[in-house]
Amino acid sequence: MKLLLPLLLLMIAAPAILVLPVAPAAAVLPDEMLADPALEARARSLSKDLRCVVCQNQSIDDSDAPLARDLRLVVREQLTLGKSDAETMNYLVTRYGNFVLLKPPVEPATWALWLGPFAVLIGGGAALVVWNRRRTILPTDAPLSETELAQVAALSQDEALR
C-alpha cells in the first residue's frame, strides 16, 4: 500500500502526454475549403474546438447550420490573413465569449473542472492509505508455546473428538 500513491501518479503521468485525437467529422463543404492543405488542416482542427453557438451542442465543424458555415469561413479568413491559432480563437472569443470554446479555458474559475478528477483520484488514494493503516496488519503466525503444544497433543489423543 505504501507504493500505491507513487505508482498511481506514475501511471497517470505517463499517458497524460498522449491525447486521444478526434475522428474526422464534417459538415464542411468543398466550396469552403482552402486551397493550401496545411492551412485547411489547421482550419479543420480549430473548427473542431469551436462551438456552434446556435446549435444544440455541436462544433462548427460538425454543424450544418448557416451560422456555423459563416464561422467556418471566418476561421479560414483569419488563417489566410496570417493569424495564429490563438489569435483566431481570440477573434471569436471577443465576439461570443468563452462559450464558443469547446475546450474550457484554464483559469481559477475552472480549476475545479480541470483538476477535480485528479483530486478525486489522489484524495481517494490518500483516504484508502489512511483507512488501510488504521486497520491492523495481518499478524504473522507466531509459533505455539509449550503449554499450547501439550494441549494440542492431549486433544489429538481424545477419542471422543475423532
Binding site: 498522449l18 491525447v19 451542442n57 468563452n98 474550457p104 478528477p117 483520484l121 488501510n132 486497520r135
Partner: protein
C-alpha cells in the same frame, strides 16, 4: 375508449403502489408475514395494470387514433407501423410510461424471483421500489399524462422526427431504460440494508444478479446508441460527449464499480458501506440523467421537449429519493460491521483500486457535464465543455484502470505478493510490450497514441485469455475436466474483460487512422481515399413510404487481406419527409471485419469541373470493434448472470435461524 381504460389502469396502479409502499414496510418492521407477502402480490398487480395501460397506449398508436394528443403529435398515417409503435416511447409522456412499466416489471420480478430472499428484506425492497413507482406514476399522471385527448381530432398527425424513424428507436430506449430502472432495484436493496442495519455477504449475493440485470441492458443500450448515431448522422461520429450521452455513461461507470465492489462484499464481507453508497449513487445518476434530459437545464441534441416545470418535479423526486437515501446512509452506515481485513496487495485491494479509478473517471464525465450549470449559478460567464476537455482528462485517467484490469484477476484474495503476481504476468507483459514496440516501429511515432492503444487492447484481451488458461491448466497440462467445471461467472469475467480490450483497440485505431475526403463529384468520376477507390456511378430519385429521396450510387473498391480486391455497391440518399418537412442524410456503409467504408452525399454544388454532387467519403478502420466489444461485455455479464451459484442462493449459515425446530444442516 382505450385511452380512458389505460388512464384508469394507471390510476389504479398508483393506488396499488401506494399500498405496496406502506404495508410491506410495516410488515417488515412488525414481523407480520401476511403484510410482507402482500408486497409480492401488490407488485404483480401493479405490473399487470401498467402492462395494460402501456399496451393500450401502443394500441392507440398502432390504430393511429389521432384523438389521443400524443398520437397526433408523433405519428402520421404514412408512418410505417414499426415506427408508429416505437413512437409510443419516442416522446416525453410515453417514455415516462415506459419507465414506469419497467419499474413495475422489475418490482414484480423481485416478488417472483426473490424467493430465496428473507421475507423482511424482500418486503422492504418491494416497499422502497413501490415508493419510487409512486413518485413516477404521480409525475406521469399529474404532469405528463400520455392519455390526454385532443378535441377536435385532426385528420392526420404530425409525424415522428425522421431521425427517429429507425430500428434504433425500437431497441435503444427500452434497453437504456432497463438499465436505468434496473438500478432502482439495487438502490432499493441498499436502502433496505441500511434500514435493516445489516449488509453482509448474503445480502451482496442476493443483490449482485440485479446489478447484472441492470448493467447488461445498459451496456447494450449505450453501444446501440453509439452505433445508431454512427450510421444515422451522416459522418461517422460515434460519441460526442453530449450531456445526454454522458447521462447514460455515468450510471454505467458506477454500475461497473458496483459490480466489482459487490464481489468484495459477497466474498469477504468487506466494503459493505461503500457498496451501499455506490448503489445509491448509481440510481441517483439515473434520476439526474432523467432530470437533465427533460428539464432544459442543458442544451443537447438529444433533449426531449423541455419544460422547467417538469424539471422542478423531477428535482423534487431526486431530493426525496437520493436525499433520503444519503441521509439514511450518513446515519446508519457507520453502524455497519466493518469487514474482513486485507493486505495492500490482494484481490480486494485490486478491486478497491478499480473502484477508485472508476470514481475518478466518473468525476470527469460528471464535472464536464455539469460545470457549465455550476458556473452559470455562480458567475455571469458562460462556458462550454466539449470533446477537447474529455479527450485530455478522461483518457489519462482510464489508461491505468485498463492496465489494472488484467492484473486484478491474477491477485489472490486476502493476501498476495507483488512478486507472485509479477511472476504470473511475466510472459503476457513481455508479449504486450513486444506488441507495443512493434506497432510503434510499424506505424511511426506520429501514431503513438493509436499504437499504444492497440497494445493496451491486446493486453486486455490477453488478460481474459490468461484467466481461462490458468484455470484450465491442471497437474498434467490442459485438463478438459477443468474446462467443464469452470463456473459460468469465470467465463463471464474473461469475456467481459476481453470485450473491453476489443473496444479499446477499436477506439484507438479509429482515432488514429480514420481518414476522410470531401469533394464535388460528377457522374462517372472516381477518387481515391487511402487505398479505397470510390466511383460515383449514377444519381437518381428514389422514394419510400413517407419520403422522397435523391440517391447517389457508388462503387467502392478496396484491397482485401484475402487476395482479390473487394468491390461493393453503396448507395447514399438525401431524404425529404413532406409531412414534417425534414431532411435527413442516409449514408452508404460497407462493413468488413477490419473496418468500414462510409459514403454520404450532400447537396449539389459547383465543382472545379462543373456542377456536381458534394460527396463525403470516410474510411473507418476497426470501428465495428467498438460496438462488438460492448456486445462481448454484455455477453460476459449474461454469462455471469447464468451462473448456478446465484440460483442456488446464499449458504444457509448466513440466514438467521427462525426457529429452533430445524436441525442444523450439514455444510
Amino acid at each position: 375508449m382505450y385511452a380512458e381504460i389505460g388512464h384508469f389502469a394507471l390510476i389504479l396502479a398508483l393506488l396499488t403502489a401506494v399500498s405496496q409502499a406502506i404495508l410491506p414496510m410495516v410488515g417488515a418492521v412488525r414481523g407480520d408475514q401476511a403484510l410482507m407477502a402482500f408486497g409480492r402480490s401488490a407488485a404483480q398487480l401493479q405490473a399487470i395494470l401498467i402492462i395494460l395501460a402501456f399496451g393500450l397506449l401502443m394500441t392507440c398508436f398502432a390504430m393511429a387514433d389521432f384523438s389521443v394528443e400524443l398520437v397526433a403529435e408523433h405519428a402520421a398515417t404514412t408512418q410505417p407501423l414499426p415506427y408508429r409503435l416505437a413512437a409510443t416511447w419516442g416522446n416525453h409522456e410515453g417514455s415516462m410510461l415506459l419507465w414506469v412499466l419497467i419499474l413495475a416489471l422489475f418490482g414484480a420480478g423481485i416478488g417472483r424471483f426473490g424467493d430465496n430472499l428473507p421475507p423482511s428484506l424482500q418486503a422492504r425492497v418491494l416497499s422502497i421500489q413501490a415508493m419510487i413507482s409512486v413518485a413516477f406514476l404521480a409525475f406521469s399522471l399529474f404532469t405528463s399524462n400520455p392519455f390526454a385527448r385532443l378535441d377536435p381530432a385532426p385528420l392526420d398527425g404530425a409525424e415522428l422526427n425522421p431521425l427517429l424513424q429507425d430500428p434504433g428507436l425500437v431497441f435503444h430506449p427500452p434497453l437504456l431504460y432497463l438499465g436505468y430502472v434496473g438500478f432502482s432495484v439495487t438502490f432499493s436493496f441498499a436502502v433496505a440494508a441500511l434500514l435493516e442495519g445489516r449488509a453482509d455477504a448474503a445480502w451482496a449475493r442476493w443483490m449482485r444478479p440485479w446489478v447484472l440485470a441492470a448493467w447488461i441492458p445498459l451496456t447494450c443500450g449505450i453501444a446501440l446508441g453509439s452505433f445508431w448515431a454512427y450510421y444515422e448522422l451522416g459522418w461517422g461520429g460515434w460519441w460526442f460527449w453530449d450531456p445526454v450521452e454522458n447521462a447514460s455513461l455515468m450510471p454505467w461507470l458506477l454500475g461497473t464499480a458496483l459490480l466489482h465492489s459487490a464481489i468484495v462484499t459477497e466474498k469477504r464481507q468487506a466494503l459493505a458501506g461503500w457498496t451501499i453508497l455506490l448503489a445509491i449513487l448509481a440510481f441517483s445518476l439515473s434520476l439526474i440523467g432523467t432530470f437533465l434530459v427533460r428539464s432544459g437545464i442543458l442544451t443537447s441534441v438529444h433533449a426531449f421537449a423541455v419544460d422547467p416545470e417538469r424539471g422542478v418535479f423531477i428535482l423534487a423526486m431526486i431530493i426525496g429519493s437520493t436525499g433520503t437515501a444519503l441521509g439514511l446512509f450518513a446515519w446508519r452506515a457507520p453502524l455497519l460491521r466493518s469487514g474482513a481485513l486485507f493486505s495492500g496487495v490482494s484481490r480486494e485491494a485490486g478491486l478497491t483500486l478499480n473502484n477508485l479509478f472508476l470514481m475518478a473517471v466518473t468525476a470527469v464525465v460528471f464535472l464536464g457535464t455539469f460545470y457549465p450549470v455550476i458556473m452559470e449559478a455562480v458567475s455571469t460567464d458562460k462556458i462550454s465543455v466539449g470533446p477537447p476537455y474529455y479527450n485530455l482528462v478522461f483518457v489519462p485517467l482510464s489508461v491505468p484502470l485498463l492496465l489494472l484490469v488484467t492484473v486484478g484477476p491474477m491477485l489472490a484474495w486476502k493476501r498476495d505478493s507483488l512478486s507472485r503476481v509479477a511472476g504470473k504476468l511475466k510472459w503476457p507483459l513481455l508479449a504486450a510490450l513486444a506488441v507495443a514496440v512493434g506497432l510503434l516501429a510499424l506505424l511511426g511515432f506520429a501514431k503513438a497514441t493509436a499504437a499504444l492503444g492497440l497494445a493496451l487492447g491486446f493486453w486486455l484481451i490477453m488478460g481474459g485469455v490468461l484467466v481461462l488458461a490458468r484455470r484450465w491448466r491442471g497437474v498434467g497440462g490442459f485438463s478438459a475436466r477443468l474446462v467443464r467445471t469452470t463456473p459460468a461467472a469465470v467465463f463471464g469475467m474473461a469475456l467481459a474483460h476481453a470485450g473491453l480490450g476489443v473496444t479499446a483497440a477499436g477506439i484507438s485505431v479509429m482515432s488514429g487512422f480514420a481518414t476522410s475526403k470531401i469533394l464535388v463529384m460528377r457522374e462517372g468520376e472516381s477518387t481515391t481515399v487511402g487505398t479505397m477507390t470510390v466511383t460515383l456511378d449514377s444519381v437518381g430519385d428514389a422514394s419510400g413510404p413517407n419520403y422522397q429521396a435523391f440517391q447517389g450510387r457508388f462503387t467502392v473498391r478496396e484491397p482485401s487481406i484475402f487476395g482479390a480486391d473487394t468491390v461493393r455497391a453503396l448507395a447514399s440518399e438525401r431524404r425529404f419527409y413532406p409531412v414534417s418537412r425534414n431532411q435527413t442524410t442516409e449514408a452508404g456503409i460497407g462493413t468488413s471485419l477490419l473496418g468500414n467504408s462510409y459514403v454520404a452525399i450532400g447537396d449539389q454544388q459547383n465543382g472545379p469541373r462543373g456542377p456536381g454532387l458534394v460527396v463525403r467519403i470516410y474510411h473507418h478502420p476497426l470501428v465495428g470493434w467498438i460496438w462488438f466489444g460492448g456486445l462481448m461485455m454484455a455477453m460476459g455479464g449474461a454469462a455471469s448472470l447464468a451462473d448456478r451459484r446465484f440460483r442456488i442462493g446464499a449458504p444457509l449459515r448466513s440466514l438467521p435461524r427462525a426457529t429452533g425446530l430445524l436441525p442444523a444442516p450439514a455444510e
